[in-house]
Amino acid sequence: MVTTPLLSIGVEPLRVDGLVSAVSGEGDGAVVSFLGLVRNHNAGRRVRYLEYEAYEPLALKVFERIAAEARERWPGVRFGLQHRIGRLEIGEASVAIAAASAHRADAFAACRYAIERVKQIAPIWKHEFFEGGDVWIEGATADPEDRRARAEAERVACA
């Protein structure tokens, strides 16, 4: 049996079944998972493909931080987070998150919180290749200590 690492970054395609199995225990009644997919359009542009790059050792530490934040806020939630890097085609998954809990409210909240935090603080960048050019997408200034960002992620998670 292949073990699925709960927190990882790599070039291999992401699948959600393995992650769901890896986080689920016999006391869990709910697993919520999120897949981020490469869309064929963005900001009015026709996207051809994306390339993701990461500062891998820091990104893995950030994933551990996000997992710890989620466990602190929702005790008992088991949590997995995998991000893909390299070239991704339309429809492929860039990120997979799974959160398992005895009750569904916590699983939904923890999963949503995690993707918000990934977008806020994970040192990962998206290079978009569209019809007619390419652009580095620049989102949030990463600051893991920013309490307002964390509070916003909790608000969006409907916690």
Partner: protein, 81 residues
């Protein structure tokens, strides 16, 4: 003393390298390293207010003093997910 500088995304494109080695003055901060790079790559100036930084693969503030051999990373606004 010498430090390694890691650059990502558009900063890497602007500098034409993902990794640089630079001499910095004893007692220099991360911010001083950044200022030094901005003189070298004027397009870095646009990131003055949006950059994040890390030392040895941990987030660090701009006022952090660097040591000989440190790996200093400059991170433009992130877009993972």
């Amino acid at each position: 003393m010498r430090v390694t500088v890691r650059l990502f995304a558009r900063l890497r494109d602007v500098a034409g390298a993902s990794e640089l080695t630079r001499e910095v003055a004893p007692g220099a901060t991360v911010g001083a390293v950044w200022a030094q790079l901005t003189r070298e790559f004027p397009d870095f100036a646009a990131y003055e207010r949006s950059i994040s930084s890390a030392v040895n693969a941990d987030y660090a503030r701009m006022d952090r003093e660097v040591r000989d051999g440190d790996e200093i990373a400059f991170l433009p606004p992130v877009s993972g997910g």
